[in-house]
């Protein structure tokens, strides 16, 4: 079933000559984890704000579960939990209150809202903060509260604007784990914007890449990678004084002192690995193109 159907979306902000986004068409299926990548100013936030009906589109249409999002102001709010980038909205509430009231306003009975609140505090590991004012939280704590607020009342669709911003590596991992679980346990559709292409790759099922307001790539990461680049990446780590000897003619890039990136064709991989003198190396990694490579490719190349 199609959750979101976006057709030929265009947005001009008043007084600006360049559109924030132009001719974007895409659809998102139920139960999908959908990532939106792009540089700053590429129009990602505008797109999701159009999808939750906070920004009016200049032209084009958006339907949610087959119904236009503008037909009724409560259509989107009944199905979608939205997390904006800015986390100051609930400043005067405690963590506990923010979750409880959000669950209530999303239609839960008092007892259900209470247990939902407890479950979210546990799941996001913010139980110790439950009586703290939201305004007193650190950036990372506040991000987790915002994520929990978006999930309060268990909406079937989540739209998250940069869920891992302000988070340390451990908490970023928590975010991906919780989102994946929410997706598998409840069949929820999760749509998010991210700059963490490498980490998001663990959970993203389909991706849209935006550049200067245009949709430049759309599809499964594996398919996009095949179309773009089938080379393997061999990363070598060594003491800068003793660089390893490599077979002649391999394209090698020095990323930093003591770290090289070598691009290999499939058939070169075995021979190259066999030729490595492991005593000269601290470590090596062999991998296929990542989502980040794709992102850099599409964000950088003019089409």
């Amino acid at each position: 079933m199609i959750v979101y159907d976006v057709q030929d979306l265009v947005k001009y902000y008043p007084g600006q000559r360049e559109p924030a986004n132009k001719h974007i068409s895409l659809h998102i299926e139920q139960g999908e984890i959908f990532g939106i990548l792009g540089d700053n100013g590429a129009g990602k936030s505008t797109l999701v704000r159009q999808m939750v009906n906070l920004v009016a589109s200049t032209s084009g249409s958006i339907t949610l579960f087959g119904q236009s999002i503008t037909a009724h102001p409560l259509h989107v709010p009944r199905h979608v939990g939205y997390m904006p980038q800015d986390g100051r909205a609930l400043n005067q509430l405690t963590v506990d209150e923010a979750l409880f009231y959000t669950a209530r306003l999303r239609g839960m009975r008092r007892a259900d809202a209470r247990s939902d609140c407890d479950a979210l505090l546990d799941r996001w590991q913010i139980n110790a903060l439950r009586h703290k004012y939201s305004s007193r939280l650190s950036g990372g704590e506040r991000r987790l509260l915002q994520l929990a607020v978006a999930m309060a009342g268990s909406p079937p669709v989540l739209i998250l604007d940069e869920p891992t911003n302000d988070l340390d590596p451990q908490r970023r991992k928590l975010v991906w784990d919780v989102l994946r679980r929410y997706n598998t346990e409840r069949g929820a559709t999760i749509i998010f914007i991210t700059h963490d292409a490498l980490e998001a790759e663990k959970i993203i099922q389909r991706v849209a890449i935006l550049r200067a307001g245009e949709l430049v790539a759309l599809g499964k990461p594996s398919e996009l990678k095949q179309a773009v680049d089938q080379k393997l990446r061999l990363e070598l780590f060594f003491s800068p004084e003793t660089p390893p000897a490599l077979l002649a003619g391999l394209p090698t890039y020095a990323i930093e002192a003591g770290r090289w990136l070598v691009l290999l064709e499939w058939q070169q991989a075995m021979a190259t690995l066999a030729s490595l003198n492991l005593e000269q190396l601290d470590d090596f990694r062999l991998y296929s193109a990542t989502l980040e490579d794709l992102y850099l490719y599409y964000a950088a190349q003019p089409h």
Partner: protein, 254 residues
Amino acid sequence: MLRNRTDRPALLPQLGDLFLMELTNWRWSWRTLVITGTITPLLSMLALGVFARGSGAETQAYILTGNIVLALMFGMMEKLQSRFMFMRITGALDYFATLPIQRSLLILAIVLSFLALMLPALVVIISVGALLLGVSLSLNPVLLLVIPLCAVPLSGIGALIGSLARTPEESGAISLLVTFMLLGLGPVVIPASRLPGVILILGWLSPATYAASALRQALLGPVTLRLLLDLAVLVGLSIVIFWLVSLKMRWRQT
């Protein structure tokens, strides 16, 4: 997925939850409620009362009720102006816009919560003020209707300023300007007998005139037919102003 929800949340519980959420605004507003909503009107009463000593009971009555209107402006108009402004700049408006709530209930909840926060200040101002000015109160039960009806149009003006102004600074400045304009235009703090005709005529356009008149009757008596006119105008103004507020609130960016 949705089994824990009711399909159409009942409106009264929704209003209750929104009211309780908005009531938490006491956490930032109580200091200014004490200072501008309570102490300032009392100081103003004290100063004007000393100045106007010996000019008769009518003047003292105007000073009392006029300053209650001032307190309502600081406590309701000014607070609503800042709440509406901050909802826009902190993203709270986006938060509410993406929740399945009746939007008019949010506006109602904000007004009711700030009115509830204002009540203790009003009790202090009325009782201490009457004592300071030596005015004898003759409370009429209609006061329970008069106070909300005085507060609502003033809150609406604040909500409108907070929805339209570009920055918090601009919003605060406009609110202060309107406060003094409404106090000065018409017999609010100063009795009609001491005001020039043009001010009296302009006063007919100001909600503060009707609020002050209604308060005088309900607090000091006698209640006359004039109260019906005052309340009718206050109700009418409330409807018009909140209709404008609902038009001007930017739930959706263009």
